[in-house]
Symmetry: C2
Subunit: 196 residues, 2 copies
DNA sequence: ACTAACCAAATACGACGTGTATGTCAAATT
DNA sequence: AATTTGACATACACGTCGTATTTGGTTAGT
């Protein structure tokens, strides 16, 4: 036994983030009670406010975690494509599909921006955005794309993708609409391609 | 004098919506106190709950109003362009510029989706979306665009535009970034064009 | 081994905000 | 003129957040 102090603290942080993830996803940020949430993992609000400062702090931590997972997965998928260009399209499609997850939607797409402000100001620096911007820059160097501002292109691409996901998720039969969304996304993205 | 009952009621609705617009824009939905808001126009929460049901109801009314104004303005601007295609690009640019207004941003882009859910489910039916979808459909008929699902295209376009606006607004010097955003938007949109 | 400083977490507290239930008074109706 | 309707005000109950204070175990120093 003889648990170090820091160990249990780290464990508690992990527990709280997990609980936050669940509560925020199920009830939404506003309706999530910090009392319930902490009690669910055998703690009290004291632990929360000590570790994360306030309710927003917990949300920020949760968002960072999810964002990181998304970026990693998208990168993995993008790397599996043959071409770099194909890779970026695949990444975009991956974002759309990931954003169908209610957890991602509620926390990252809806409550995140509303509570934390624009993603580009987030502490986590939004790994997803950074990743797609890198992809754009690489493609620019290779002359695959028309000259554009990489940050702008990345923002618009991810914006389009995430918005597409919201649309798909809100539609009556998502499985029917998803392919349309992905197709439209790729058509749109092809506007960036340099003329052959 | 002898004011009709319906007259004063309509006046009060207008007052409350105006107050809501101001409060939601300045403080955000969550931090806006309904007590203050109603007191500002010489009423109480009683009037609010009678007219709009609940806090969300007021937000919905405010969003509907702003959305309508935006759609009208965009249509106006789009009609001024020579070409239909140019018109759609102009509309997109107009959305980006309008979304720089803090009021639009806070209420329609951030709090609106978080509190009311996806725009396509909004009671107001999001005039902006409907309008751009119409434009897309017209262009499709004329064979200007590659075959795409019009709803999907509209969603992605408006998503990209609005996201671009968020980015511009959050940047350090918006006036410098805005042209980049508009340029990137138009480049992206050109992906929809049928090959010449 | 004993004590003292420390600190993560618990507990207690104050302020506030929403939604609802009840009351009231002017306007509409007959 | 009496009655009914309904728009709005008032009062209350309940829940929540954030902070100030306290507690008890952990670490370090002698």
């Amino acid at each position: 036994m003889a648990r170090r102090r820091q160990e249990t603290m780290e464990e508690n942080r992990v527990k709280l983030i997990a609980a936050g993830r669940k509560a925020f996803a199920e009830k939404g940020y506003a309706a999530a009670s910090m009392d319930e949430l902490t009690a669910d993992v055998g703690l009290t609000r004291g632990a929360l406010y000590h570790n994360f400062g306030d309710k927003r702090g917990l949300l920020a931590a949760v968002v960072t975690e999810i964002d990181g997972e998304m970026a990693a997965r998208a990168k993995e998928i993008g790397a599996g494509a043959g071409d770099h260009w194909q890779g970026m399209l695949a990444e975009g499609a991956a974002y759309i599909e990931m954003a169908l997850d209610p957890e991602v939607q509620r926390i990252v797409l809806l409550d995140g921006p509303a509570v934390l402000g624009d993603p580009s100001k987030w502490p986590s620096q939004n790994s997803c955005l950074v990743a797609t911007q890198r992809s754009v820059e690489q493609l620019l160097e290779k002359g695959v794309l028309k000259p554009v501002d990489p940050e702008a292109a990345a923002r618009l691409l991810s914006g389009a993708a995430l918005n597409a996901a919201l649309w798909v998720a809100a539609s009556d039969n998502p499985s029917d609409v998803l392919p349309k969304a992905i197709d439209a996304f790729q058509t749109l993205a092809s506007g960036l391609l340099a003329a052959r």
